[in-house]
Symmetry: C3
Subunit: 381 residues, 3 copies
């Protein structure tokens, strides 16, 4: 089986080799998959992440996930899911029947006396549902605590989360770096989010010191990095070419995005955004080498059920179209345009980073050092 | 030129290495190509099998086949077949003209004094037409007898054959194994063939002895294997999951499919099927690594021309739609669903066969031992 | 990085190894790209040739070309060209701004104090506009004189040129060889160009001596080869198969195409054609391994502006549809039909050339010996 990345290339990227190799993502981490609302009681759905194909179902409210491939001849259950007893999946081909919770082969209807029954099975993956997202632990190690794989604040009891899920034709790392990249703000200079929202949106940022980030790698809790833009950068509101002013940033009274951080296994937190009362949490979940799911959510602190339904209304009628689509759609096409270059692994050392990208280098190093494993094709067979 | 299959994988499949390697089929065997009715007098048709591209034509009733690629600059004649003298093909590009029977270069109209004329040519393949099918011997050895490459009974004088040809997006071996696999009966549990046909169709089979097959490898005649289901298996009519009955097989009075056998180079015989008066013969002919032609035929013994036209009517008005399409369409999608896994060669040792699959293992061994060669990309250049 | 062509194959093609290797074309030559009329003042256009992606623009009438990939994160400028100062291109992603003439990084609007400014840049390519075509020098050597990369007569002051540009799904070498190949005339035997044009068009040519070409490889000027058909060949007007006459060539009074020559880096001259008053010049410009631009032009000597507009009318109303499309469309599909075979590198030694193809062998040798370099994937990173 050929290596994910040519060893010569990895050597040239010696500051963050794991990151360059992790085309399919990092293993033994929690990833959001479907939104809770996407999986009804008794429903079966196929879902591809980290190059693997999963089958999800919901039984008495609880979600279970197994690899979507029969032990016997390898066909996907999801091609025609058959369920004859709650909590099981029967393969449509030869009636191998598995327990959805454990993956155990509990029966074979075409040969009920087979010696295989009760002695083998398929991979089952730990599942946790939180804040309207179905998280799956992709790996075979003992699962970590979910709180160690999400940004600070996301699981807070008083925070209500709402979001959307989209497929993007770019590697997941392109997603992470587009999100954490401060100067990519330039692409948003004409965003419809700016119409009628009095926010300050500069054209770029001049770093005023090298120390513009805070790395979090305590034993307990998530591993991530804060980019302290507000403290160590000077926003650029005048765009100049060869001494001539040619562009203006959007001067507004409202300060947003003062606190931007990225966390393993690939999730961004922007606080506050797109409004002083909201925080954006967004995941870039590997599908395969060339695609990721972009799961963008907004969180707001709520105290009452009136708060909650007010937020639900505001989300549906304002923020979903204006921020999660209108504003972030620019990011989607930017990532897809970047993929053409980065699908060649040589790109990781042929690129030419500049001063504001120091946070991106730091993120690559943190991810290389603190990931719990690299997903490889061997894991999928 | 890279090997068809990684040698490490072949070593892990040491019980039937030739079979695992024969992605493009076995060489030096007879294969059906077009139905006779698909090729009219004087017509030229391109046809791809075993990774090779053929040009077929019919001259005074007789069919000829050459490789569909000009000797000179490699273009396919079939792009614009030009024929200026019966029994020849002239390349549309530079007028190299070949005899369709021998492949010999008999003239070059653009340079009629060329030294090449009469001294070289293209590959011509032996052809035999039988029972409404055009058979071609794919190889360069002395052709075997056609009767050694078809199932017993197929060529019997009193048997009338009718069939259809379909393209399936799966390797040819997936086709063979789907056909010979007894417990795949499970996928047909709701087939429209069962409506109004009083046949017995169980959900599966429990082997009651290890000795459920008969291998035929005499020097003369076809090489194949019978699965003696009726003798050594117990049909399963009650489907149970964890002790609970959840499904019923189709209990009918009519016994069919008591005699199932598979033959080199990849053809199944089911007798009787789909009716006590009929036998099904079906071929899985490699097109390329990922596709095969599924040529499914029904045979009936006939004594008179009234019998023959009664069968023709019955075939057109009943069996074609009910059996060769309605029932077998389930097999087509099952094979296509299996291809995703088996297109990775690792599948041949990652699969988990169970007791009723012993006939499949036996078939793989027989094919590995008795084939007349493996088709390789070198043969196509 | 894997080699363009397997070394074993190159060894078997030892008469013209460079030619066989030059799938992506020859480097350090001038190639026509867009027609002048395809690029308006201030417009930006992406254009792929020799596997590379260029961005072209026109500033105060002059054309400039840079590689269409930002230095920083590799995105194509052409995805959303932004120009804030004449003669510059600003990357839409992080506002890296380059001088279109030199490729120099002249500003970064998102971080105007970056140390990179003025110290680095992207590849800029020499451009010359002549006879309605935009020529680009694809390489990094000192550019040659344009006159050394075009056929004799093309740049003559009294010659007016008009043409069209088409994309063909075949390697560029297939284009060259189809054009220079004398016996491919066979495919044009029913061309609409023959209707009402009294030209002589034989079915083929019998070489009457081995010495049917004149090689031009002076130090100065273009390198090419003339095929002296009129002097050393006998035209074939009777097509025979096994002694029987089956076809007739087109007997006309007008003699055309008496002087056919091909020139590095891949351009044909047919004189006169399609009429005694015209000369055809046509280029086969590599796009990638599997496609080329076919830039076909006609030239006529003119003395006055009335001559020029008469030619313009005649070109638009007659020759464009009759010759550059009607007649040459046959060549396009012939090339595309040939690509299937030649996309396998083995084709270069599996082909079977015949006597009239000696000019093609000579062309391959000339190209192998006199090219200024082979374009490789390394050059594109």
């Amino acid at each position: 089986m050929k290596p994910l990345v040519d060893p010569d290339i990895l050597e040239k990227c010696s500051l963050y080799p794991d990151y360059v190799e992790a085309k399919l993502g990092f293993r033994n981490h929690w990833y959001p998959t479907l939104l809770s609302e996407e999986l009804a009681e008794g429903e079966f759905k196929a879902h591809e992440i980290l190059g693997d194909r999963l089958l999800l179902t919901r039984v008495d409210g609880e979600v279970f996930a197994v690899r979507d491939r029969c032990l016997h001849r390898g066909v996907p259950f999801s091609r025609k899911p058959e369920c004859y007893k709650k909590g099981t999946i029967t393969c449509w081909y030869h009636a191998f029947t598995f327990d959805m919770a454990s993956g155990e082969l509990v029966d074979i209807m075409t040969n009920p006396r087979s010696n295989l029954i009760g002695k083998t099975g398929i991979a089952a993956f730990p599942v946790q549902e939180a804040k309207g997202l179905i998280f799956i632990f992709m790996g075979d190690d003992e699962p970590a605590a979910l709180k160690d794989d999400v940004p600070p604040g996301f699981l807070d009891e008083d925070v209500c989360i709402r979001g959307i899920r989209q497929e993007v034709a770019a590697n997941w790392r392109i997603g992470c770096e587009n999100g954490f990249d401060s100067t990519h703000v330039f692409i948003h200079k004409e965003s419809i989010l700016l119409d009628g929202n009095d926010i300050a949106l500069p054209l770029g940022f001049v770093p005023t010191s090298r120390d513009t980030f805070k790395v979090v790698t305590e034993e307990e809790g998530p591993k991530g990095i804060y980019d302290l833009l507000a403290e160590h950068c000077e926003p650029v509101f005048e765009g100049t070419v060869q001494g001539e002013t040619v562009l203006q940033g959007h001067m507004g009274e409202t300060r947003v995005a003062s606190d931007i951080s990225i966390w393993l296994p690939g999730v961004l937190r922007v606080d506050p955004w797109p409004d002083p009362s909201l925080t954006q949490f967004e995941w870039y979940v590997p599908i395969d080498e060339e695609r990721h799911y972009y799961i963008a959510t907004l969180g707001r602190k709520i105290a009452t059920s009136e708060d909650e339904s007010a937020f639900a209304d505001e989300f549906e009628n304002k923020w979903k179209d204006l921020a999660l689509r209108g504003f972030n759609d620019d990011d989607i096409w930017a990532r897809e345009a970047q993929q053409t270059f980065y699908k060649n692994d040589e790109a990781w050392y042929k690129e030419q980073l500049f001063e504001p990208d120091r946070n991106i280098s730091k993120w690559r190093q943190l991810a290389s050092e603190h990931n719990r494993g690299i997903q490889r094709y061997e894991h999928l067979l």
